[in-house]
Symmetry: C2
Amino acid sequence: MIITAVNVQIFSYPTRRAVDSAGHAHPGDVTQASMALLRIKTECGNEGYALGAPELIRPYVLDGFVRKVLVGANAFDREKIWHDLAHWQRGSASQLTDRALALVEQALWDWAGRKLNVPVHKLIGGYRDKVPAYGSTMCGDELPGGLSTPEEYGRFAETLVKRGYKAIKLHTWMPPVSFAPSVAMDIKACAAVREAVGPDIALMIDGYHWYSRTDALTIGRALEKLDFAWFEEPMMEDSAESYAWLAGQLDIPILGPESLGGKHLSRASWVKNDVCDILRAGVAGVGGIAPCLKVAHMAEAFGMDCEIHGNGAANLAVVGAIKNCTWYERGLLHPFLNYDEVPAYLKRLVDPMDEDGFVHLSDLPGLGEDIDFNYVETNTQHSY
Amino acid sequence: MIITAVNVQIFSYPTRRAVDSAGHAHPGDVTQASMALLRIKTECGNEGYALGAPELIRPYVLDGFVRKVLVGANAFDREKIWHDLAHWQRGSASQLTDRALALVEQALWDWAGRKLNVPVHKLIGGYRDKVPAYGSTMCGDELPGGLSTPEEYGRFAETLVKRGYKAIKLHTWMPPVSFAPSVAMDIKACAAVREAVGPDIALMIDGYHWYSRTDALTIGRALEKLDFAWFEEPMMEDSAESYAWLAGQLDIPILGPESLGGKHLSRASWVKNDVCDILRAGVAGVGGIAPCLKVAHMAEAFGMDCEIHGNGAANLAVVGAIKNCTWYERGLLHPFLNYDEVPAYLKRLVDPMDEDGFVHLSDLPGLGEDIDFNYVETNTQHSY
């Protein structure tokens, strides 16, 4: 099954996500955003797709690396293609990023699933057909009625529980929010949410990522009293020593690393050195579904859980095929937005959640993205 | 794809492999041996197969564990089925062995490959279409003209190189051979083989498994002088400390663990504690293709190679789908036997080797075992 073409369509779609001066998503007015549809085609006419940010897969990335490795290769040779692309990254990682690598690999999985008429999670080897989701909030803001006070977090948490969520993860305030970062406000928001939802909802926090060791310890102790399920990325992940210091003192599980580079190899170092209690990896962050599975399986070999970072079809496929993960991350969520609204370029949600808080794995062949190709065609800005 | 039936046929086939009083295979007269064909059937009528020793999958294993977990399950849910069976092993591992677990899991992979019309190595994600093999000799013996002297090892090595092998692994003498174990004889055999094949053939040794630390060190130093590629299992693998002691002193890579239980979890301990230089796992030994992949991928995350133990279609499928493995183990070989002869119950070899020493991965759907079902039917002794 030789790959004959790899193409990209950049199309526009309406969004209500706005990005602040530090890169965090918040609700905003409806604007037009751009999305890339990566399309891999084989000699038999079958195609595989992946959706991602246009900047990941600019023409120089597609021509400089992706087409060179993929065109002429067997689309089933995912492991070979992945390693060949990963080798290209030496010296070129600023162009061919791990996220670009993940996008390409994702499209190869999607191709295989569509070609074989099987969902990707079953291709990997299924573990489950549904998974409980945690509602993952947007970062705090200064929008009245939004996520601007601990009380607003509490009220939003109540609506999430009504929607069915059995777990909630707070992203708290970060600069440029005027009062951020604030240890005291983070703790207050966590306390307000615990108060609002009672003892039976699992809670986690993912706040400011540049706290000092001692601030992180202060928050961690407060979270222990509030019976939080995990404490995520309070410090720069480049300092494994800081995480080992923190994890060594706290009972609350420390989760990581999420944004650290180094794919499955850096996670191996964290595991070896007892840097965290629960491992973390997401498909985009570690360069694909296969390396994400490698991280999760390594965690299993060490008796650790591995919670998968991020929403979307590819992460959900991984969650569906591993045992040592409790939750699917659904979001980001905000009082002003409706996550259950289907994006314009899809015909249905990739992660529909029932009223008991379970997300159901897709039965569709491939990754489970039911792409509205008519919409994409109609709204294509340019192709290459 | 619900599993509706799991059945076993025990059939006889002629073999020239005889087993000595300590369980090692040697050439012998033609006798009839028994083999189990495990057959998993789904509602759509598709079947998956695995071949193995009858004692792995006796009726009480099939009824007590396998059918309970499999019948009614989705055949694509390999990860779920594997964990459910593995949980049964607590307290029952003497009945439901890791090898039995592997047999069942292998049949599920074969089912998926046959169902989807794809070789299993491509289903996993292919890395290569051919792999160099090492000729893996039988253990030494006292058969004149066989493997009874260092010189005979040397002569046999020459014929293996003529056949195309670019690497040879010696299994040396073990009790009940009268003069075994013998550090001196092991070293002499290694020296004779190096002398016979010259400097450009890769050589490895897998000898007596119960040497003392100091005997192992003596052999290791001799192997370093003979430029051997690895040193395999010279001591009991239950003593990880002994391996760490040995690996810490020798430059020649120490390979392991092979026969140690504990699946991917025990390998994690070896990796964490720098017990070996090259990791080892085989499909049967670690309970299946998936755990074998988990070991290999963990090794990759730690920058280590993982050489796959044993011949056969399932191990070859793993080798075909991973990068960090140099060789396929082809054998066991002996001057009196012809490994290239197709077993009576197959229509072709699972691991055909060309004259350059490369084994070619199968294009057949499933694991690549071209089973002669007529032969199996005709020679079935009993079924359950």
